[in-house]
């Protein structure tokens, strides 16, 4: 009898909302959105956790500028280190940022282990930075974190929509709450994505424009607050009133 899964609900009991930032497609800005959401809400005074679940290409620590990768403190489990006020958990504490050649079964075991031993404490929001695909990570979030909602990111491209709509369809089928879809990296506004989101009877949350200066702020949370990316995103957050 596998036991670790049985304690996961207890670990997340004092977390008010869990938001998985997902897409199906890679490189659409999931990690930027997840990290910015954590920074934004933390700045507004909320108690925030950020969980990087992209075990192959963890990115949140790069965006937040985490330098030292010491082990988390242990106290009836492991305590996520505080990074700019955010309770931050990532595989990098244990991989030391080396390549991670994991098969699906390993991914699933890692997620179970991390969920079973991480003591998040009371949180207003736990934000999960999801990898692309509809694989073990997505299936395990759906299976193990019943109260997770999804915030979905797309770009304006037909190629992105191909993967994004697959994720949306499976979430809809399984009746998982979808906060809505953010259109990111927009250069020229069109209604293509908005129309597709409408067809699925979901909420189109708004547009984040392509920000050619964003790269300079990567790794510098103070600067991220001042980017056009964050301005566009904050406007969306104001309207949806999370």
């Amino acid at each position: 009898m596998e036991v670790r899964v049985n304690v996961i609900e207890k670990r997340l009991r004092n977390v008010k909302r869990i938001i998985s930032v997902a897409s199906g497609k890679g490189g659409v800005g999931k990690s930027l959105v997840a990290s910015s959401l954590a920074l934004n809400l933390s700045h507004k005074g909320f108690n925030i956790g950020l969980f990087d679940l992209d075990l192959y290409g963890p990115s949140s620590h790069i965006i937040l500028g985490v330098k030292k990768q010491n082990f988390p403190e242990e106290e009836k489990g492991i305590i996520p280190p505080k990074i700019h006020g955010i309770n931050f958990m990532s595989i990098i504490y244990f991989t030391k940022d080396k390549p991670s050649p994991f098969r699906g079964i390993d991914i699933s075991n890692i997620i179970i282990e991390l969920l079973a031993i991480t003591q998040w404490g009371p949180l207003d929001y736990l934000i999960i930075d999801m990898p692309p695909g509809i694989g073990d990570e997505t299936l395990d979030v759906i299976r193990l974190i019943k109260k997770s909602e999804f915030l979905v990111v797309s770009t304006p491209s037909k190629v992105a929509l191909g993967a994004v709509s697959k994720l949306l369809k499976i979430l809809i089928e399984l009746k998982i709450p979808i906060i809505g879809v953010i259109e990111n990296m927009v250069i020229t506004k069109s209604s293509f994505i908005e129309n597709e989101v409408d067809k699925l009877d979901l909420t189109y949350l708004g547009t984040i424009y392509f920000d050619k200066n964003l790269e300079e702020s990567i790794g510098k949370p103070d600067k991220i607050f001042k980017t056009n990316f964050m301005k566009d995103f904050d406007k969306i957050l104001g309207e949806i009133d999370l």
Binding site: M1, E2, V3, R4, N6, V7, K10, R11, F71, E74, E75, K76, G77, I78, I91, Y93, F94, T95, K96, K98, P99, S100, P101, F102, R103, D106, N109, I110, E113, L114, A116, I117, Q119
Partner: protein
């Protein structure tokens, strides 16, 4: 002391299972822990004891038996088989500690001793499980 979190998952599961089986008291829990988990046995037993004390009557006289499941690793590239104990001495403290936290990072920090591939399987020796529960209705 992340052993505490695993111990708690044992007790949570045992209590749930006892409820399902309508046991009034639990007399024995047999626990299997994968070798890769590298649990510190005394810390783990201490944690179990503390959690049991904090629980209700059901667990008052429970006996816990802990068995370490030996690790078996098998290379998908060359078919070679080995045990974690065979390669443990080559790891530095950080690597070893990482695997203690998350057994699967053995794919990050170790390789098949024969062909050097990271593409191997843990056929046994990971995870934490209850192998049997005894009690009275």
């Amino acid at each position: 002391m992340h052993e505490w979190a695993l111990a708690e998952s044992i007790i949570t599961t045992a209590v749930e299972a006892a409820e399902k089986k309508k046991l009034k008291t639990i007399s024995e829990i047999k626990i299997s822990i994968g070798e890769l988990q590298q649990i510190e046995q005394d810390i783990f037993e201490f944690a179990l004891g503390e959690i049991i004390k904090s629980q209700d009557e059901k667990l008052k006289n429970v006996k816990t038996i802990i068995i370490t499941e030996e690790s078996k690793l098998k290379c998908k590239n060359c078919g070679n088989k080995w045990k974690f104990a065979d390669i443990k001495k080559k790891l530095n403290d950080d690597e070893s500690e990482s695997i203690h936290f998350i057994p699967e990072v053995t794919f990050v920090h170790t390789r098949c001793p024969k062909c050097g591939s990271p593409d191997f399987e843990i056929t046994s020796g990971r995870g934490v499980s209850i192998t049997s529960i005894k009690g009275k209705r």
